[in-house]
Amino acid sequence: MTTLLSIADLRVSFKVGKEQPFEAVKGISFDVPVNGTLALVGESGSGKSVTAMSILRLLPVTAAISGSILYQGSNLLDASSERMRELRGRDISVIFQEPMSSLNPVFTVGDQIAEVIRLHEHLSRRKAWQRAIELLEEVGLPEPKQRVSSYPHQLSGGQQQRVMIAMAIACKPKLLIADEPTTALDVTIQKQILDLLARLRESHQMSMLFITHDLAVVGDIADQVVVMEKGEIREQGPVQAVFHAAKHPYTQALLSCRPRLDVRPRRLPVVADYMQGRILDANAPQRTPRVDGEIVLEVRHLGKRFELKDGLFSHSYFDAVKDVSFNLKRGRTLGLVGESGSGKTTVGLTLMRLHKASAGEVLLKTESGPKDLLKLSEHDMTALRRRIQIVFQNPYASLNPRFTVAQILTEPMRIHNIGGNERERLELTAAMLERVGLSPGALWKYPHEFSGGQRQRIAIARCLTMRPEILICDESVSALDVSVQAQVLNLLLDLQDEFGLSYLFISHDLAVVRYISDEVMVMNGGSIVEVADSDTIYRDPQNPYTKRLLESIPKGLQGLAIPAVA
């Protein structure tokens, strides 16, 4: 295979203020083959996006780049800015992660596609418009003739990403850079977009540089893979070789710390296990779903209706949650999966009364019999709140940035009179921090001083200070890197065993839900379409929607043996 783009000893550093320059990429070298797909894999902060943007020289002016990026024999780092403008969009084009923010909201999609064509191919307005329609047809947008004059907000996320792809392939580029093109999309849409990209790459004879954090996706789409961590390349080679015989412990860890559909170890391996050469027993007993147990929370016919204002006096309704019923058992995990807009988050918020429910009952088992949370007075509810807690998706948004960790953790104890005095509460808090794997020195810091995984641990610790019986995890690990995700999932499992917690685990990620749950509910359009124990539902789905959902999961990692420690 010949080489289209060759990167040698690329270094990128950013100068921020008067501090030492931050080195984002530390001397990496790799080649993108002609007519092939190279995947750049890494967690956040690995420098993968910076590498991609330096190819097109789209980095901010504070970046200092050295090394060489040879494209068809000429070094792009030395090219004039006119030359770069010619190349961008015509020879090398990019698809970004967020289609909504990469499309200009005030122009129709046709205008935006036609702009690229007219800029590089000097076609007339009418011909460019005609070409835009053809492109939209090629990327599989239904009714391209009508959709060409619609605005970005009138399209769904998947359709917007198709428009972005149409723009990117408009001038038949030789290299397509796809920067996490499916991360913001639902799993069924992700599958469609990946298939589309693979098909287009084949038919246009393009090369593709595919950037992702998800190794499973890599297995589906790429020929070559480059694994990056902290600005350095840990491992590179053909996908099959890297997947089946990973040499670097970091790669081994990445491959095995992501929950999979086919195996379910008692505990997920984490990066530290591999880095420190800890032996993992591949034949360790697997976790099995437990569906027995005493019911602690019973939800009956829960409904949530949003009122939408259409005009001054008229309004319509939108049912986000329709007639949802389920039981949560002590010490067990109930998974709730669904795509965006399915109403799964609304279920969590409504049964905690963070949204007002429109219908149904939420019966919490207490010493004095079951109590309907939806009918309690505000005062009685406050007293019961400590029994049922929630961990949100975004650890950056769920901690008050103006509070210290000590304030965050002692506040719930003060409200519920846990601990006799402030000193006692601080001692409890310090113990709780140690329990979730943070040092007690963290007490006096502010949330912005912690990484995403650490913040999520603080959020979990805040819930645990109240000794709840039920924990609702609303996409609690979705925003985390895979290696951190594994640590937090392990922590949640340990805490469940230790405190007998019941989890309602809400996620769009089927593999994570399968790993942690005893029972799984599938939600679509506000209703629950299927409930079964987590082995059965994945092995033998009954509902067509469940089947479609499961078929869309990237299968790149399945069937791999857990890499043994080198």
Binding site: L354, N400, P401, T404, Q407, P440, L443, E449
Partner: protein
């Protein structure tokens, strides 16, 4: 809620003594220190505030009302006024002898003798002052310094009143929404439908003159911009996850509104307040200029400008310049400080 420096024993009995790490406010101070223009304006504003504090304590400019110079004495650098307009015509020719008809003539010697015993030290009126004098010979510089006390006090106090009112109402409207929000919105709409200056006149006419009145008037009419912004901020923040998390642990509404959300929107409040300070200083000038502001026995930059309009016709420009320079320096410095604060205070909420 304050847990500053404490030592804590962990479960293992180990003592950890720590202090709060660089907090949000420390970072704000650091960012502000990096901004040279912002720091310069901070120094100017602090100097003005100190100056008006000294004036209030009577350490500076307490003698502003002393008529120490001749009327309209020009500034030092112009020299004494020699224009013919002020010279009294001296009679020419021999003095007329009126002693035969003057009944007091025999007593003049006695009167002179007694007058010498009393030794009246009539201070000679100065012909020039560092920055000139006004119509009654008062020092313009001292007047401007004394005036800054009233103007800055009015500006700051009215801004505090307006911001507190706007913040409270905005928080209520944004946090609760629904009926509460609707009622406050209607109130706000009615209030802003009346032209601002007309509203100020109406209040001034009803409440009468006085510094307190000016503060109340400006405070009652100036809350609307703060209200509008704070309502929007509260709508945005009340659905943020950290607020939901606070609700989930059982905090009361008031705690969520004022303990959780308020510190996170404080940058909006502070910036609005400093914008209001500038606006209210100018508003006080306008009010005093129109005769609705501070009472006549006190002085502010506004009353100085009011007097200056008559003087300008006579060519006596120094009172106008003194008041304008003081006001311009303070208002500009405050605006620059506002900009610097806005940059420094914006919390990086990711």
């Amino acid at each position: 809620m304050s847990v500053v420096s404490t030592s804590v024993a962990t479960a293992g009995g180990e003592i950890i003594s720590s202090r709060r790490s660089a907090g949000v406010w420390k970072q704000v101070a650091k960012r502000l220190r990096g901004d040279a223009l912002g720091m310069a304006s901070l120094v100017v504003v602090l100097a003005f505030v100190l100056l008006s504090l000294f004036v209030a304590l009577g350490w500076v400019a307490s003698g502003w009302s002393v008529e120490s110079a001749v009327p309209y004495a020009p500034p030092d650098f112009l020299g004494p006024d020699t224009s013919p307009a002020l010279k009294i015509e001296q009679p020419t020719g021999p003095m007329l002898d009126l002693s035969s008809v003057d009944p007091l003539a025999p007593h003049y010697a006695d009167i002179d003798k007694r007058a010498k015993e009393l030794a009246t030290a009539a201070k000679p009126k100065l012909l020039t002052l560092p920055f000139g004098a006004d119509r009654s010979g008062r020092d313009v510089l001292l007047k401007a310094i004394k005036g800054s006390e009233v103007s800055i006090f009015v500006g700051l106090a009215a801004a505090v009143v307006a911001t507190a009112l706007g913040t409270f109402l905005g928080a209520l409207a944004g946090f609760f929404g629904g009926i509460v929000g609707d009622v406050l919105e209607w109130f706000y709409n009615v209030f802003t439908a009346v032209p601002g200056i007309l509203l100020i006149f109406a209040f001034a006419a009803v409440l009468g003159r006085g510094i307190g009145t000016v503060v109340v008037i400006l405070g009652l009419t100036g809350w609307t911009s703060v209200y509008r912004l704070l309502r929007a901020e509260y709508i945005k923040h009340s659905t943020r996850e950290y607020v939901l998390a606070a609700q989930a642990i059982g905090t009361s509404r008031a705690t969520r509104m004022f303990v959780h959300i308020l510190p996170n929107v404080s940058h909006v409040i502070l910036v609005q307040m400093s914008l209001n300070v500038v606006f209210f200083i100018k508003a006080e000038v306008i009010l005093s200029f129109l005769g609705l502001g501070v009472p006549i026995d006190s002085v502010s930059w506004g009353t100085m400008l009011n007097e200056a309009q008559a003087e300008l016709i006579l060519g006596k420009w120094w009172q106008l310049v003194a008041a304008t320079v003081f006001m311009a320096v303070f208002v500009t410095a405050f605006s620059v400080l506002t900009d610097a604060l806005r940059d420094a205070l914006d919390p990086k909420l990711r």
